[in-house]
Amino acid sequence: MLEVVVTENLIDAAAAMSPQARFLGGGTLVMRQVNYGDQRFHRIVRCRERLDGVRVEGGRCVIGSGVTMAAIMAARELAFLAPAARAVGGPAVRNMATVGGNLMAPHPYGDLAVALLALDGQVSMADDTVMPLDQYLATRHGLVRSVSIRRPAGDEFRFRKVSRVKPKGVSVMSMAAHLGRNSGRLSDVSVAYGAMADTPVRVTAVERALEGASLDLAGITPALNVATEGLSPPDDALASSWYRREVAPVHLRRLLIGEDRR
C-alpha cells in the first residue's frame, strides 16, 4: 500500500527517504509514476518547508529547489534563465514543475538542468553539503535544497532547445553555453547538452576546443568537429542516436553564432 509522509522540514524529509520512497515536489514526475502504479516505491514524502526562495549572492544566484519554472520566468533577477524555464512543458506544467524536479527528470526531459550545468551549477543538499551539479546528476542521490549558479553578463549565456513540436515539444536535444570573453577571445567556456545522454551532460571536448577561440565560424569549427565526442546519444521515438549525432554540430553552431551567420 502506498503511504504519504508529510514532514516539517527538508532534513526530516531526507530521513524519511529510502529506495522505496519518492520525494514529491511539483508532482509532474512522481504523480505520473503514482498514476501508473509504479511498484518501485510505496512511500511519497512531502515537506512543509518552503524551498521557493531566489536570492542573489555576489556573482551568483541561489535558487530554491521548490522554485517553479513559472517563478523563474517571473523573477527579474533570473531573466537570463527565462528562456530555459519557458522551454519546459506548457503553462500548467511550468506552474507545477520545480527546479529540484528538473534535476531528477529522466531523458529526454530536464531542459532547465542543462542551463544550470552550463552556469557552473552547485547543488546544496538538505544537510547543506555542496557538490557540483554534474556530480549530483551522476547519482541523483539525496534531496536538494537549492542550486547556486553564476550570473552571466551580457550575451555570455546561450540556451537552445530543439523540438519537433512548437511551442511545446519534447527535446530532440537542448544545449546551453556560458561563453566568457577575454581580450575578444572565448574564455571560461562551459557547454552542456540535454537529451544527448542519460542525463544532462557537460561536453568537455567542445569546451576545450572553444577555450581561447574567436566567436566566428572559423573559430568554432574545431568545436563543431568534436560536437559529440565521447557521447552516445540515446535512441527514442523523437530521434535516433544517429540523427542526434548528425544534427548536433548544426545546432551547436546556431547556439554559438546564430541562425544565419556563417
Binding site: 509532474t28 504523480m31 498514476n35 511519497i44 506548457g90 500548467a92 511551442p167
Partner: protein
Amino acid sequence: MKTPVTFTLNGSEAAAFADPGQNLLDLLRRGLGDLSPKYGCGQGTCGTCTVLIDGEPHLSCLVLAEAAQDRRIETAGGLADGPDLHPLQTAFVEGFAAQCGYCTPGMLLAAKALLDRNPTPTRDEVIEAISGNLCRCTGYEPIIEAILTASRAPNRAPNRAPGRTNGRAG
C-alpha cells in the same frame, strides 16, 4: 488511510477524503462529483484535466489531492454564472470551437487564466497559453479565434460574480 482535505471549489467550500496517492482529478470527479475536468493521460501530456489553482492552470492529474488543502480551485463546471455563460464559453459556442468536446473544459481554463492575467493577448500569446492542451479533432484554429473573440467581447468581465472566482490571479 484516508486524509481529509478541504479547499475552495468554484467559490464554495469543499471537503473530501483522499486515498493515499489519489490525485486531485480523481478526488474532484469521484469524491466531489465535479465531472468537468477529464482524464486524458494521467501523465501531464494532454491538458484535459486542467484546473485553476489560485488562478493559475495546473494539471489536476499530477496534483496529489491532499496537497490541494486550503487552495482555491476553479473548474470548467464553475465558469458559468448560473444561466449566464462566461464570455469564453459564449465565444466557444458561437465560434464552433469544439468538436468532441473532451478537451474543451481544459482549453477554457487555460484561456481563462490567460485572459484574467492579460485581457488583450496577441495571437501568439493565445497559442502559448493553450500549448499544453491537446485537441485531437484539430480544432485549434477555431479555439484560438474564439479566445481572441472573447478577449474583444465588450461585456467581458473577468472579475464578475464575487465569491465565485476572486478575479485575477495573484
